[in-house]
């Protein structure tokens, strides 16, 4: 079963590789830049808030694409890197560490000192958003290497299980990392437990403000979703570039070789552990970036918002778009997020008013995502987007259909 007709596909495949990369790139860029124009009001089909989340999840999706799509490692605990990114932001952009006062190029609000009635710098550690993004990516990457080091030698099913385990443990650790009690109010507190940390500082634009002589405000106001959208877009574009560059080079080939046939890859000189760890590190960095941005967008960091199904939803996005296809990852991320935040509700309402039914579609979101995974695997494992690397997977489809053994 295929969606794009044969004629169109063979025309596409006959285009030179440069065109096959450039055309989707240009189309997506155009769409992306026009995004906020297409956005509707808060109750419409595409609220600007959803658009921002779509971009964030596109970044998550591209990160997981490196791990699952390129290197073929089924990581079901990707939420870990989201957590790292978000909590790094919480620690470095809020009043949480109130016994200290460290400010580096930040955009934190001033507070009024009760005795002098003068504005003073807030307590806590406040670093510039841009610095924090880099720090968070590094922390996430290191976290990825630490998680990966003992687990990447495992078979695919055990790896899936262990990463799922990490994805369960880490939220619980962050939730419990507040040991203060009535009798022990000075105990260690790393996360404020279920109360969460907030509010987070806004994104600072100091540099741009100087450049434009004060036209651009000093900081992005929390309600300015347009600005937030363009900022995350910068990171999305950067990561697309990184993704493509790596895929076209030595590391990308090594990843794909591992995905296709790990044994043969090692016999051809590919160092397995090192290569897999790199995929984890880079995928984690993307998660860290996106996690930090998400935290600053939402304004607070509370572990209970990191629903356990996050890892599965991102997996859904990667599968939908096509594993190993950076454009597919973006489209998958956008589509899945749209359904998750707006689509299910919006379609449900339209359907109800058209058919007179009273169905709350959002109640079926688990089943919806589950169905996507199952149907995609059964009928179109290569994803919705026609990638250049089509034929091999069509062959796989044909073989599954005819119950032939697939050579591994």
């Amino acid at each position: 079963m295929t969606i794009i007709p044969q004629g169109a596909r063979s025309t596409w495949n006959s285009l030179p590789p440069v065109a096959r990369t450039a055309i989707p790139a240009v189309l997506l860029m155009a769409l992306a830049i026009a995004g906020p124009q297409l956005a509707s009001g808060p109750t419409g089909w595409l609220p600007i808030t959803t658009l921002v989340f779509c971009a964030v999840y596109a970044l998550f999706s591209m990160g997981l694409n490196i791990v699952v799509g390129y290197a073929g490692l089924l990581d079901l605990g990707y939420v870990a890197f989201f957590l790292f990114g978000a909590y790094v932001a919480a620690w470095l952009m809020s009043d949480f560490w109130y016994t200290r006062s460290i400010h580096i190029l930040d955009a934190a609000h001033k507070v009024i000192d009760p005795t002098t009635h003068q504005p003073v710098s807030a307590q806590g550690i406040h670093l510039s958003f841009w610095i924090v993004m880099v720090v968070a990516a590094l922390v996430a990457a290191i976290g990825g290497v630490i998680i990966g080091w003992p687990t990447l030698r495992l078979k695919s099913d055990y790896l899936a299980l262990v990463t799922l385990g990490f994805g369960e443990i880490l939220p619980e650790v962050f939730r419990n990392a507040d040991f203060r009690t009535v009798s022990n109010p000075d105990a260690l507190n790393l996360t404020n437990g279920t109360k969460g940390i907030g509010p987070l500082d806004p994104i600072g634009n100091g540099f741009l403000r100087h450049l434009t002589n004060g036209v651009i405000p000093k900081a992005v106001t929390p309600s300015d979703y347009r600005a937030k959208y363009y900022i995350i877009l910068i990171f999305v574009v950067l990561f697309v570039y990184v993704s493509i560059k790596l895929r076209g080079g030595k590391l990308g080939r090594a990843w794909l070789a591992i995905r296709e046939d790990e044994l043969a890859a090692s016999l051809m000189g590919v160092p397995l552990m090192r290569t897999k760890l790199w995929s984890y590190a880079i995928g984690a960095a993307a998660g860290g970036f996106a996690g930090t941005f998400y935290a600053t967008t939402v304004g607070i960091v509370n572990v209970d918002t990191f629903i356990f199904s996050f890892s599965i939803i991102i997996l859904c996005a990667v599968i939908l778009g096509g594993m190993g296809n950076v454009w597919g990852a973006i489209v998958g991320g956008v589509v899945i997020t749209w359904f998750n935040y707006t689509g299910l509700v919006w379609i449900g309402e339209k359907m109800n008013s058209a058919l007179g039914t009273k169905v709350k579609l959002k109640d079926y979101e688990f089943g919806f995502f589950g169905m996507i995974l199952v149907l995609m695997m059964l009928f179109r494992p290569q994803g919705l987007i026609p990638a250049a690397r089509q034929k091999q997977v069509q062959e796989l489809e044909r073989q599954i259909e005819q119950q032939e053994v697939v050579p591994t």
Partner: protein, 345 residues
């Protein structure tokens, strides 16, 4: 494939290190156990019984996991959710269809009926899942059926949300709430009932797998699917049968769970399912007896962690369980009783 490369054990010194670290953890575990016994022997005994009862349930679920993994090398992520559906359907059958909400002889008889109903339901669901979601992907690269299993898990959870609601639902039970006293230690009758039902069930399973023709066919298919086919075994039927058995066990565990714990929630399966899988790994995935022992072991550890003087408390249970899983998989993927076989390339 990976184990051939990794299980080379070529770095012989490293293998020694891995084993010694593993032994250190085991040693710490035993020390913790003894510490708890010493600091509260009565409490320990009480918790032990509870742990054995829960462990029996974990054993049933773990057995289902391990049977399926043994025969098609697939970790059925959706298995735990089957357990959840068994609990929910069993509770609905007993409470609403049969109207039994209190402990009574009629209640107990109808409990048996409801349990069989739950078992049949879960067996049927599992067979349907295998037929439509997994069968086509039997020869596909490993990633595909794994991802599909995750998808099925989500679908089942949604069904759970629809039937049970998205919040935990409290249920009634026909099991007596009283405790009996053994040597000064209070023991819930409900726990004894669970153990009394589970043990024969497990014995029946052992007999089925070891002594019957169909059990032999199952073991043959698990060892070498193609050879079994050549011997005239209808492999598809045997696999379906295995899924049905696993489902039935999950259904039984679900019914018993809800009778003892009096609540159901849609994510019960996901959480407990993974704990049960830890048990299966502990016993050596594919090893039926190991799954049972692993289940009991995990049940006891969970009970101790929740309630013993030196347990970390309920909020750390997931972490403890998954840490055990992760440590097992890393240091002893073959389980406590498993063998470390080198794969032929």
């Amino acid at each position: 494939m990976t184990s051939a490369v990794a299980a080379r054990g070529g770095r012989l010194a490293k293998l020694g290190l891995v084993n010694s670290v593993g032994l250190v953890f085991v040693g710490l575990g035993i020390a913790w156990l003894i510490w708890n016994i010493v600091d509260g022997p009565r409490l320990f005994a009480r918790l032990l019984v509870g742990g054995l009862s829960n462990g029996a349930l974990f054993a049933l679920i773990a057995l289902g996991y391990t049977m399926v993994y043994g025969i098609i090398e697939l970790i059925n992520f959706a298995h735990g959710d089957l357990f959840m559906l068994g609990a929910v359907m069993g509770a609905i059958m007993l409470e609403q269809w049969f109207g039994q909400t209190k402990s009574s002889p009629t209640g107990w008889i109808l409990l048996a009926v409801a349990m069989l109903g739950a078992m049949a339901f879960c067996a049927a669901v599992n067979v349907v899942i295998e037929r439509f979601a997994y069968r086509r992907l039997r020869n596909a690269p490993k990633l595909a059926p794994l991802i599909t299993a995750v998808g099925v898990s989500f679908i089942l959870q949604n069904i759970g949300i629809r039937i049970n609601g998205s919040a935990p639902h409290s249920r009634t039970s026909v099991l007596p709430t009283k405790e009996i006293s053994v040597g000064g230690v209070g023991i819930r009758v409900a726990y004894i009932v669970v153990i009394a039902i589970t043990v024969p069930l497990l014995l029946f399973m052992t007999w089925l797998v070891q002594k019957t023709k169909i059990g032999k066919a199952m073991r043959a298919t698990a060892q070498d699917r193609d050879a079994a086919r050549l011997m005239g075994i209808d492999v598809d039927k045997i696999i379906s049968f295995t899924f049905a058995l696993g489902g039935a066990l999950a259904g039984a565990a679900g019914m018993l769970f809800v009778e003892v714990n009096r609540r159901t929630s849609y994510d019960l399966g996901f959480r407990l399912g993974l704990i049960a899988f830890t048990a299966a790994v502990l016993g050596g995935v594919g090893n039926l007896l190991g799954a049972v022992i692993g289940g009991v072991f995990i049940g006891v550890i969970q009970a101790l962690n929740d309630g013993a003087p030196h347990g970390l408390g309920q909020e750390w249970t997931q972490t403890v369980m998954f840490s055990i899983l992760i440590l097992m998989i890393i240091f002893r993927p073959g389980g406590l009783f498993g063998k470390h076989a080198q794969e032929k390339v």
